[in-house]
Amino acid sequence: MANVAVCVLGSFGYDRAAQGAMGAGRALADSVGGELHALVIGPAGDEALAALAAVSDRVVAGANEELRDVQPEQALQAAQQLHAAGGGDYVAVLLGNDTYSQELAPRLAHRLGGASMADAAAIRMDGGELLAQRTAYGGKAISIYRLKKQPAVVWLRARGFEPAPERPSPGEVTSVDLALDPPRIRVTGREVAEQEGVRLEDAQVIVSGGRGLGGPEPFQELKALADTIGAEQGASRAACDAGWVPPNWQVGQTGKKVAPELYIAIAISGASQHLLGMGDSKVVAAINTDADAPIFKHCSFGIVEDYKAVVPLLTEKLAALSS
């Protein structure tokens, strides 16, 4: 018997990333005829545990209070112990794409004698080994890696996966009391980022601006557009590097990886490193003066015009359409 585990951070709850990771986990578990287990690191609400149980064969929850605010060193110990508590018989241990999960993957793999991989957009088993598809060379290529040891510990581009279907009856929830050593690197403070609206990673619609805007002021015009359609605002690296908008607006290889239903790229040429951050968007629309800009090879619809002429008019028309 070979099962599949998904590590979920309790404090994040059953968010979109966890839903996608569980969905990917279910497909993988079905392909090997095994069970899907959720390994919950830290206290999670009853609602989140029930939602996880509804899509799992088993939930193993390590609800130690000291894991409420994630201490990475202890999250690693917790993941290792939950892995054992769940039976340890896993071909794969999947994680979401938050920064805590990202740093966990290689270390957990090393401790479990397995293999690790990052940012997988697709996974499947082949001859008992896991194949993980991801981008390479800043988005210029797609690579498929063969993971040669088990478990394959992989963090996923989780929002790109369909949520897991509910089971006929919920999986059993087991609570485990974990024995955690004090962290050798201790997180002592958090400056929670000012968050107007939802996180970019969870946004359903994003309006992003790029170098072509020429300065910080036009982002106000884009805000009016975004507000009209209930969108969050993002930006390209060029706009962030220039200091026009805060660094946490950046979408791209060195910024956030987003997967909204609709991504509107305004005055963004579409460099491969930007495409890497928004390539999982369901629908992409572009506004750019340059018909040859790469963004037009990666969007569903668009307009070749100066944003200055388009944005105010577009905002007006969308306001009329939605009223």
Partner: protein
């Protein structure tokens, strides 16, 4: 205090997509006319280490380490031109794209060797991921090989009283952490650790600084497994994705008509989300 920074030499990631080609036999990018450069996050790591040295006001020595081919000497020279104190190249043998387990083992062995000869490193800095393959697994693997605690996505290290204060970026926001040496961090970029441009005088001085070379045999790692560099993963396939989407450009006689078309398409999608 001693600080070690790991560097990786990569194909210039700014090569335009139209010049980018895959070598199917090597399962990697063709070099073509592209330059080899130091991975940007590794240069951010060098800058971060130098800022720690400057903030401490003395008593901090920074060493750069690379596992790569002889051309990677350029990356180490550039690091020393940025005023890193000394460097070490472990000459790579075998697989040109070794997996993170192999690189982690080689770097860990080299670090132990350098520590034996020059004293322990308080902090080991690794770029968070590389601009070529970008799997971002090396820092974590290295930390486990060394058996040291680690923290990812760090942007600043400040000297404290025994401990080092780390500042890092997470999904939740900025986190501050206290780390007792020795430890490993992966470094990400922010507006404050943009790599400095070496001064001409420092470029000349860099050739007088020590650059030690080690072979796998020197580290007792001259094994088939390390040379193969694929004990945990390998590239099965790599290809350039086709431009799959056909873009529908808004048409119409006037700007008003075209924007109207665009507005309707956007409205359709937004309305379907509900």
């Amino acid at each position: 205090m001693r600080v070690l920074v790991c560097l990786k030499q990569i194909l210039d990631p700014d090569v335009p997509a139209r010049d980018f080609q895959i070598d199917p036999a090597a399962k990697a990018a063709r070099r073509g006319g592209a330059n080899l450069v130091t991975n940007i996050f590794c240069e951010n790591a060098v800058e971060t280490a130098l800022q720690l040295r400057e903030a401490a006001g003395g008593g901090v020595k920074v060493t750069a380490l690379c596992y790569g081919e002889s051309s990677a000497e350029d990356c180490l020279r550039k690091a020393m031109a940025m005023t890193v104190d000394e460097a070490c190249l472990v000459e790579r043998d075998g697989n040109a794209n070794p997996d993170a387990a192999a690189v982690g083992r080689v770097l860990a062995a080299a670090i132990r060797q350098l520590e034996e000869d020059g004293g322990p490193f308080d902090a080991v800095l690794v770029g968070r991921e590389s601009g070529d393959w970008g799997t971002g697994q090396t820092g974590g693997m290295l930390a486990e090989e060394l058996g040291r605690p680690a923290l990812g996505f760090v942007e600043n290290l400040a000297p404290g009283n025994g401990a080092v204060t780390l500042r890092r970026q997470t999904d939740v926001g900025i986190e501050v952490a206290e780390a007792e040496p020795p430890f490993v961090v992966t470094i990400t970029n922010n507006e404050d650790n943009v790599p400095r441009i070496p001064k001409t005088r420092d470029v000349m001085m860099s050739y007088r600084k020590p650059l030690r070379k080690l072979s796998l045999a020197d580290l007792d790692l001259d094994s088939e497994e390390i040379r193969a560099g694929s004990s945990i993963f390998e590239v099965e396939e790599i290809f350039v994705p086709a431009d799959e989407v056909e873009c529908e450009l808004a048409e119409g006689d006037t700007l008003e008509d075209r924007v109207d078309r665009l507005a309707k398409r956007i409205h359709e999608v937004v309305a379907s989300i509900g």
